[in-house]
């Protein structure tokens, strides 16, 4: 039946045929059933803007790989420090200047007995001032059991070992060729006293995977921490740029006229200022007053900012002062373009308030652009932060960022190249993945721009 209907097209009519030759019956003129109607509906379910963008992004193999790599870097930075026993700031005096995977003499000595014991606490492997234990109460936990004991004199150059149910003190000199040649038993209970201090025991000596620096700080821990600092600085700086830039651009674009003219001339002027030089100048000049303010003030903001350090705060100030220009130009352009669109005119004609137009029409249409720009701002902020830290500005020790780690490694580059190459590689991978994610986001959110 339907077949006959489909044939009935003016373009397929054979002029030699008479109407009766076509297979048309009265049935063809009956109303279609609902199932037949449904078959003809070609529309699919409407897809929202974000879902559509997400689908396009997922199809982009390069962006998906970049996203995966970025997630790995995130895990490295935020989960990594929990997996290794070393701290980014602590100096392990016995393990200075180690190559990747190398053990110090002390570590080798302790490591040689690790098969014989269940767990241990070696004073020689502790950081900084902890290399000797004071005489007091201690406790540690191992496999769900608590071991509490009291030291009646100061303990140094020794290992507290647990073998089965025996807790004992082994002096470093009593370890010979991987054998414990003598020990002094240590009485313990399972109830720690109130003043007892907890010790962290280890099963085996953890290797310094990428070595240590000349102060004996573990480089892997520092790189993880530095990645975290660089990431946080990049993200916060990008958001500062987002807020200032979009507000400035939106006000300029919405007001128009003289306000727009003045605001845009200011932007033009600032655009021609070579930013890197002013940034360096600002970094130098801001550091001391900021530090003085942190030291003097006791307010909540000052305290919060002082934990970040003067270097990082001045990076934020610099971004707030100089880097919103590109963003404000794009937002102004978008607002100007959207303002003239018919749907805005229609909304105005229907009596919508300005606030409603901004909320319902302008903002949703700008969000894609804002997301793209913010995403691309993060790697450039990380770039700038690492550049400043490399020049000795930005973050300062014991804090670390990827740039400051490279800077620290510069002096010994020819002797210990991995100290530079490892954080450098992480930095490059981070920036690369963020750039590619930004590109993918642009292609996904604004397919018109795709080249």
């Amino acid at each position: 039946m339907k077949k006959g209907l489909a044939k009935f097209s003016p373009f397929q009519v054979d002029p030699d045929k008479v109407w009766a030759d076509y297979d048309i019956t009265e049935l063809d003129f009956e109303a279609a059933t609902s199932s037949e109607k449904e078959d003809l509906v070609l529309l699919r379910k409407s897809v929202s803007y974000w879902r559509d963008a997400a689908r396009r992004f997922r199809r982009n193999t390069v962006s998906m790989i970049a996203l995966f790599v970025f997630i790995l870097v995130l895990l490295f930075a935020f989960l990594g420090p929990a997996l290794i026993p070393y701290d980014y700031a602590k100096q392990y005096r016995s393990s200075q200047k180690l190559s990747p995977g190398e053990y110090s003499a002390q570590e080798l000595l302790i490591k040689s007995i690790e098969d014989e014991v269940d767990c241990m606490y070696a004073t020689a492997l502790q950081p900084g001032s902890m290399t000797a234990l004071d005489a007091r109460d201690y406790y540690f936990e191992f496999k769900g059991n608590t071991y509490a004991f009291t030291l009646d004199q100061k303990l140094a150059d020794s290992v507290i070992v647990l073998q089965g149910k025996d807790l004992s003190i082994v002096k470093n000199s009593q370890i010979n060729n991987g054998k414990i040649t003598g020990s002094e038993p240590l009485a313990y209970t399972s109830e720690p006293s109130d003043t007892a201090k907890e010790l962290t025991v280890v099963k085996s000596v953890f290797p310094h995977v990428v070595g240590t620096d000349s102060q004996g700080r573990d480089l892997l821990a520092r790189t993880m921490y530095g990645t975290r600092v660089s990431l946080i600085v990049g993200i916060i700086a990008a958001f500062i740029v987002l807020i200032i830039g979009s507000l400035y651009g939106a006000i300029s674009g919405l007001c128009g006229g003289a306000v727009d003219f003045v605001m845009m001339r200011l932007v033009d002027l600032m655009y021609s200022v070579p930013d890197v030089l002013i940034v360096l100048l600002l970094q130098v000049v801001l550091k001391d007053p900021l530090q003085a303010w942190f030291d003097a003030s006791d307010g909540l903001i000052a305290n919060a900012l002082s934990t970040l350090g003067a270097g990082i705060v001045s990076i934020f100030i610099t971004f707030g002062l100089l880097y919103w220009i590109g963003m404000s130009r794009v937002v102004r352009g978008q607002v100007l373009m959207l303002k003239k669109q018919e749907f805005v005119t229609a909304a105005t004609a229907l009596g919508a308030s300005n606030a409603r137009i901004i909320r319902r029409h302008l903002l949703p249409n700008c969000v894609g652009q804002l997301a793209i720009l913010t995403c691309l701002q993060i790697p450039s902020a990380i770039f700038l932060e690492s550049f400043l830290s490399f020049l000795g500005l930005g973050v300062s020790a014991p804090m670390a960022s990827l740039g400051s780690l490279c800077s620290d490694a510069l002096g010994t580059l020819t002797v210990f190249p991995y100290r530079m190459l490892f954080p450098g590689a992480v930095l490059t991978i981070l920036i690369l993945s963020l750039n590619l994610i930004g590109d993918g986001l642009r292609d996904a959110l604004d397919p018109r721009l795709k080249k």
């Binding site: 002013i278 970094q283 007053p289 020049l391 580059l413 930095l427």
Partner: protein, 313 residues
């Protein structure tokens, strides 16, 4: 045209004054006197302030500062080479010349490698060569200058031993290779990427089809029609590129121990020698602004279609 050039020159001067105002404000925000040392007494500081005119009202100081800079008096170094005029340090000790040579070489390399690579990638679109170049350029704009410089230094300098690891005063041509390569790599990649995009844009234009229909050889289409028109966006990035090369020079000269203006600037930052920092900032900024001016005017000559009002977006 003349009016446009005049307008641009006025704008450039306004920018220079803005930068000088910024540096002046910042110079005065720095706490403490520049003459404050462990030994100095209040009287000595007072005397020094009087000697250098720092006791006058700020507006008079700003006027003096502008006049001094206009006369080429950049003040004296406060710490690094105490008492020596900044001008002597920057220009008469070969620092500026060395950095300028390095920067211009890097710019030359960036243009003379970036544009052909971009053309090749566009011409061989979709082939393995295009793919390779795309990976290389994407990587090139992600790697920070200091990471690249250090990597080159370790692998080509220390491990392979092909080039000297300390470039010093650049006496042999070999000493130039690694600094110039690391300084220009980002720009080569950036220009190549940009050229490829604009070339592909140009290739799809009607006039290319017309030329093809007339039977013009592909080589000539690329060189005469496509390249010329795709160069306009490339010219615009040359201005910002100078700023980028200057920033890169700070890092590269520090890494390769080249006693140029960049390395000295970094040292003056670490030593907080404010007069040197200010003078260098102003001089380098002026160079960047001047280059932007030249580029903007050149832009007009390359493409007469471009309207010359600066406010057009």
């Amino acid at each position: 045209m003349l009016i446009y050039i005049l307008k641009r020159i006025v704008a450039a001067i306004a920018t220079v004054v803005l930068i000088m105002a910024i540096t002046f404000v910042l110079m005065n925000t720095v706490p403490g006197s520049p003459f404050l040392t462990e030994k100095s007494t209040p009287q000595q500081i007072q005397q020094a302030n009087e000697k250098y005119g720092l006791d006058k009202p700020l507006i008079v100081q700003f006027k003096n500062y502008l006049v001094n800079y206009a006369h080429g008096d950049l003040g004296v170094s406060l710490k690094m080479q105490q008492g020596t005029p900044v001008k002597t340090i920057l220009f008469h000790q070969g620092k500026f010349q060395l950095s300028a040579k390095l920067g211009l070489l890097a710019l030359l390399v960036a243009v003379s490698f970036g544009i052909p690579l971009g053309c090749i990638a566009a011409y061989k679109r979709g082939t393995w060569l295009d793919g390779f170049l795309r990976v290389l350029t994407t990587f090139g704009i992600a790697i920070p200058v200091f990471v690249l410089a250090a990597t080159l230094l370790v692998f080509l300098g220390v491990k392979a031993g092909w080039f000297p690891t300390i470039s010093g005063t650049m006496t042999s041509w070999k000493a130039y290779i690694m600094p110039v390569l690391s300084l220009s790599f980002y720009d080569v990649c950036y220009i190549a990427k940009l050229t490829r995009t604009t070339m592909l844009d140009a290739i799809n234009q009607d006039y290319i089809r017309t030329a093809r229909a007339k039977g013009v050889k592909t080589k000539w289409i690329v060189l005469k029609h496509a390249l010329r028109n795709s160069l306009i966006p490339v010219i615009t990035v040359l201005g910002p590129m100078i700023a980028f090369i200057i920033a890169g020079a700070f890092v590269v000269e520090t890494t390769f121990s080249i006693p140029g203006i960049g390395k000295y600037f970094v040292e003056s930052i670490l030593n907080r020698d404010y007069t040197i920092i200010m003078a260098t900032t102003v001089i380098l900024s002026m160079m960047v602004i001047f280059m932007n001016l030249v580029v903007d005017i050149a832009y007009k000559f390359v493409d007469p279609r471009i309207t010359l009002s600066s406010s057009d977006e």
